[in-house]
C-alpha cells in the first residue's frame, strides 16, 4: 500500500507568534516564520503515526512518503517523520510560495501528489494546523484530486480496497465507508505517536528527500503566494490585554462573592 502523509511546520505554540505587516501597511500580514522556532504541527504527528501503523499492518511493500510545503527549514519536519519510520520525503520549496492561502496550498499539495506520489492509495492529513487552524485542507485536496474524502477519523480500518472510519460528528460519530484511493484526516488522540529511536534518527539521514519547485509542478508563480491568494489580511492588531478584573483572595466567603458577581451580571 502506498501512503502519503502531508505535514506542516508550524511555529512552536508556546512561542510569541507574530504577523508581518498587513495590506494596509503594504505587506501581506503573513506569519513571521523566521522569528520563531518551528515544530511539526502536533495534529500531523497523529497522521504520521497512523500512516506508519497502516503500513505496518498492510505488510511488505507498503511505503510511507512524507510531503511538506514550506521554506528550507521545513525540511526539519520531513526528517522528524523519517526518523519516526517514514520511507522518503517530498519537499515543495519555492520563494514564490510565501504568503499562499489555503487555495494556493491545496493546489500545490494536489499537484505534488499527482506528480510525485502517483498511484497512492491513501493520503493522510492532520485535522487542522495549530497556526492557521482553518481545518479545510483535507477537503480541498480531496476536491482537487477528485477522490473521496474520509475525514475527521477517530478510528481507521482498512480491508482490501475499502476504508472504514469513525467520523467525529457534533453529537457523536458516523461510520463512514469509502473505496481507495482516498484522502483522510485523523483527529487528535486517534493514537499515541511514537518517539523517534536513536536508530531511527540515524537511519533518517540516509533516506531520500526530493526537493521540488513550482516549475517542477508546472504551477505558475502567480497562482500561489501572496499574488495568487484569494484572501487578504487588511490589518491586524495585538489585542490589548483584557482589562484586569477583580481578583480576591478567598477569606472563607469566595463562593458567596462569586455568586454575587454572577447575580450582578444576571447569570443567576
Amino acid at each position: 500500500m502506498k501512503i502519503v502523509v502531508c505535514v506542516k511546520q508550524v511555529p512552536d505554540t508556546a512561542s510569541d507568534r507574530k504577523l508581518k505587516p498587513a495590506a494596509s501597511s503594504g505587506g501581506g500580514g503573513t506569519l513571521d516564520r523566521a522569528a520563531v522556532d518551528g515544530e511539526v504541527n502536533e495534529l500531523d504527528t497523529y497522521a504520521i503515526e497512523e500512516g506508519l501503523r497502516i503500513a505496518e499492518s498492510q505488510g511488505e511493500g507498503s511505503t510511507v512518503t512524507v510531503l511538506t510545503m514550506g521554506p528550507d527549514k521545513a525540511a526539519e519536519v520531513i526528517r522528524k517523520a523519517l526518523s519516526m519510520g517514514a520511507d522518503d520525503g517530498v519537499h515543495v520549496q519555492d520563494d514564490a510560495l510565501t504568503g499562499s492561502d489555503a487555495l494556493g496550498t491545496s493546489l500545490v499539495l494536489a499537484e505534488a501528489l499527482r506528480r510525485y506520489a502517483e498511484g497512492f492509495d491513501l493520503v493522510i492529513l492532520g485535522s487542522e494546523s495549530t497556526d492557521a487552524r482553518m481545518g479545510v485542507m483535507t477537503a480541498m485536496v480531496a476536491e482537487r484530486l477528485g477522490v473521496p474524502q474520509v475525514s475527521l477519523a477517530s478510528k481507521v480500518d482498512i480491508d482490501g480496497g475499502t476504508i472504514r472510519i469513525r467520523r467525529v460528528s457534533d453529537d457523536g460519530y458516523h461510520e463512514v465507508e469509502s473505496t481507495l484511493p482516498a484522502v483522510i484526516s485523523v483527529v487528535e488522540k486517534i493514537n499515541e505517536p511514537r518517539y523517534p529511536s536513536f536508530k531511527g534518527i540515524m537511519a533518517a539521514k540516509k533516506k531520500p528527500v526530493q526537493t521540488v519547485s513550482l516549475a517542477d509542478l508546472q504551477i505558475a508563480p502567480d497562482q500561489v503566494g501572496l499574488a495568487g491568494a484569494a484572501t487578504e489580511v487588511t490589518d491586524f492588531s495585538v489585542r490589548p490585554p483584557r482589562q484586569s478584573g477583580t481578583i480576591v483572595k478567598d477569606d472563607g466567603d469566595g463562593g458567596v462573592k462569586v455568586a454575587e458577581f454572577l447575580a450582578a451580571r444576571k447569570f443567576i
Binding site: 500580514g29 492561502d101 491545496s106 477537503a139 453529537d171 458516523h174 461510520e175 484569494a230 484572501t231 481578583i247
Partner: protein, 319 residues
C-alpha cells in the same frame, strides 16, 4: 438585493442555534436564503422564518445526506451560480469548514474561517478573526470570487425578524458520490447543552485532582444550566472524555460566561476560550495566568469555593 446563502446546521427538523446566528448576520448583506441539505425542512421552516429567512432551498435527497461533505458543497456551488449569490455563510464547525473548503475550490473563491464578526466594507465583507489563542485580532477579506465565510458559533447574537421562508425544492445537477455514511451514532450527552453552543461553560483543570474532584465541575455546570469543559491536563489524564477538551487542539468556545476552575491557563487552553464574553477563574495559585484574563477571580481552594458557590446558587434559586 443579492441573496446571501446560509447553510443550515440542523439535526432532522431541529434547527441548531448557529443557523439563527448566520441568518441574522446575512441580513447585514442582503436577502437571507437558507440552504437545507437532507430531511426536516418542513419542521425547521418556522424557526428559520423567525430570524428573517426569505427562502429555504431544500435538497431532500438521500444521496446528499448519505455522503460526506462533497454533495453539500456541490449543492452550494450550484445555488451560488444559479442565484448569483454574493456571500456564503457556513457554521465554523469542523464539518462546516470542510464544506467551505470544497466550495472554495469549486468556485475558486477565497474562504475565511473562524470569523467572530463580519461587517460590510468598501471592497466586500470584512471578517474579524481572533488568532494565536486570541492574542491577535485580524481583519481579512476575500479578494477573489464569492466570499465564503465560516463563522465561529456563538459569536453573533441571533435577532428576530420576519421572513417568508418560502420552501424551494432543488435537485442536484450532478450525481452525489464520495465516502458514504453507513451509520450515525448519537453519543449520550445527558441534559447538558452542547459545549460550543452553550451560553455558559464551566471547565475544570488539573486542580480538580481527578475524576472524583471533577464531579464538582459537573455539579456547578448543572446548577447554572451550563456545558462542561475540561483542560488538556484533565483529558490527557483520562479524568474526563477527550471530546470536552477546550483549547488549541480541542474545542473553541465563545460563551457569555466561562468559568475556569482549577485551570492555570496555559496558552494551549487560552486559545480555546479567550473570546468568551465574561470569564471567572478560581485558582489556588495567585500567579496563574488565567487570572490575568478573568473579569472576576478568586485565589483559593476550589474544594472550598465551589461547594459554597453551589449552596449559594441553590439558596438564590429557592428565593
Amino acid at each position: 438585493m443579492a441573496e446571501i446563502l446560509v447553510l443550515a446546521e440542523h439535526a432532522g427538523g431541529d434547527v441548531k442555534k448557529v443557523t439563527g446566528e448566520l441568518i441574522t448576520l446575512a441580513r447585514r448583506f442582503g436577502t437571507p436564503a437558507v440552504v437545507w441539505a437532507g430531511p426536516g425542512a418542513e419542521e425547521g421552516r418556522a424557526r428559520c422564518a423567525e430570524f428573517g429567512a426569505e427562502k429555504i432551498y431544500v435538497a431532500d435527497d438521500p444521496a446528499v445526506d448519505d455522503h460526506v461533505t462533497a454533495p453539500v458543497a456541490m449543492l452550494l456551488a450550484q445555488l451560488v451560480r444559479d442565484q448569483s449569490a454574493s456571500l456564503v455563510l457556513i457554521a465554523g464547525t469542523p464539518q462546516g469548514k470542510e464544506v467551505a473548503g470544497r466550495l472554495a475550490v469549486k468556485l475558486d473563491s477565497g474562504v475565511l474561517t473562524d470569523a467572530v464578526d463580519l461587517v460590510p466594507g468598501d471592497e466586500g465583507p470584512v471578517a474579524e478573526q481572533s488568532i494565536f489563542g486570541g492574542a491577535t485580532v485580524v481583519h481579512a477579506r476575500v479578494k477573489r470570487g464569492v466570499p465564503i465565510v465560516a463563522m465561529r458559533p456563538n459569536a453573533i447574537s441571533p435577532q428576530a425578524a420576519e421572513g417568508a421562508a418560502e420552501l424551494v425544492p432543488v435537485t442536484l445537477s450532478e450525481q452525489a458520490d464520495g465516502a458514504r455514511v453507513l451509520e450515525r451514532v448519537i453519543a449520550e450527552r445527558g441534559e447538558r447543552p452542547d459545549l460550543t453552543e452553550a451560553a455558559i461553560v464551566v471547565s475544570g483543570g488539573r486542580g480538580t485532582g481527578g475524576p472524583d474532584g471533577f464531579v464538582l465541575i459537573e455539579q456547578l455546570a448543572d446548577a447554572l444550566g451550563a456545558a462542561v469543559g475540561a483542560s488538556r491536563a484533565v483529558t490527557d489524564a483520562g479524568w474526563y472524555p477527550h471530546k470536552f477538551q477546550v483549547g488549541q487542539t480541542g474545542k473553541t468556545v465563545s460563551p457569555q460566561l466561562y468559568m475556569a476552575i482549577g485551570i492555570s491557563g496555559a496558552i494551549q487552553h487560552r486559545a480555546g476560550m479567550q473570546t468568551s464574553k465574561t470569564i471567572i477563574a478560581v485558582n489556588k495559585d495567585p500567579e496563574a495566568p488565567i487570572l490575568e484574563l478573568a473579569d472576576y477571580g478568586v485565589v483559593g481552594d476550589l474544594f472550598k469555593v465551589v461547594p459554597q458557590l453551589l449552596d449559594e446558587v441553590a439558596k438564590r434559586k429557592s428565593l
